[in-house]
Symmetry: C2
Subunit: 144 residues, 2 copies
DNA sequence: CGTTGTTAGTTACAAAATCAACCGTTAACT
DNA sequence: AGTTAACGGTTGATTTTGTAACTAACAACG
């Protein structure tokens, strides 16, 4: 009984959010239940796993997460021995973050799950939809 | 200096989230600064504005928001006289939610902004990308 | 040097989301 | 009717996030 020609399902910010939430749900269960991680935490883990050692600032630049979120995620990951922090000698404000062996292991485990999970999502879409979707999302993610 | 063939930018849950966040940012500013609303609140407002009178439960079913979020959003919107609540005579557990004149006005104002904003986002994409994107997102949003 | 500004990261406090337990009402079954 | 379960919605405690103000280290400029 629509009273209106505007449709929430066509409003991109809403639609994107619905899709994002629906499609993170199962993966969230894994990193949460199996590793007790938060979204921020697996993101930091993945940045280090994929790109190798970097600083918190650099993770922020790439992920657009706020520095306080990252700071707290790093703290927790360090407590749990998933990463180590080493202050840089030339610039003692910054720290290099490295995954420990344990961190690498968790990363590889989660990565495998992520890949399978992503493949499962892709199956819901045609090849063309997959290609165009990812392309379009990248444009939108850039912001501006 | 990737060490890895897995790319975060190809992982749909991540990519969707990046796009969702980037694309809600400016709209958020509007409903927050102009109406002091939370995301949950404009969503409730929009559901009532678009589809007309309904119960909190029905909003939850459609939006997949948790009932506590909705309950609190409804409270705030009622306090601010954007909607009224009427308990159903045949089932006194439930309430019918209706926008007040003031609520309708806020809705129409925000809807106009949303439409312009959505149009702006669409301009970043080709027609084909727009069509395929929305189609694909709807599939993903359904979950399962 | 000394002041001022910037950067990398942390902390404290307020705002919001989550989770479980809770009411009052209705439905289902005996 | 009497008991139990389910429903629609609320509340309170805890967790997580967001915002601002804060270190400590460095850089730039006089």
């Amino acid at each position: 009984m629509a009273q209106d020609d505007f449709d929430l399902q066509d409003f991109l910010p809403y639609l994107l959010n619905q899709a994002a939430e629906a499609s993170s749900l199962e993966f969230q269960k894994v990193y949460k239940d199996r590793y007790g991680m938060l979204r921020t935490e697996w993101r930091v883990l993945f940045h280090l796993g994929i790109y190798g050692r970097m600083s918190a600032r650099e993770i922020g630049r790439r992920s657009k997460m706020h520095k306080t979120k990252i700071s707290r995620a790093v703290q927790k990951l360090a407590e749990r021995r998933f990463l180590t922090r080493t202050t840089d000698d030339n610039n003692r404000r910054m720290e290099w973050l490295d995954l420990t062996a344990q961190g690498q292991k968790a990363y590889r485990d989660l990565r495998a799950i992520a890949m399978r999970y992503d493949a499962g999502l892709s199956e819901k879409l045609t090849d063309r939809e997959n290609a165009v979707l990812r392309q379009a999302l990248r444009k939108l993610a850039q912001g501006g």
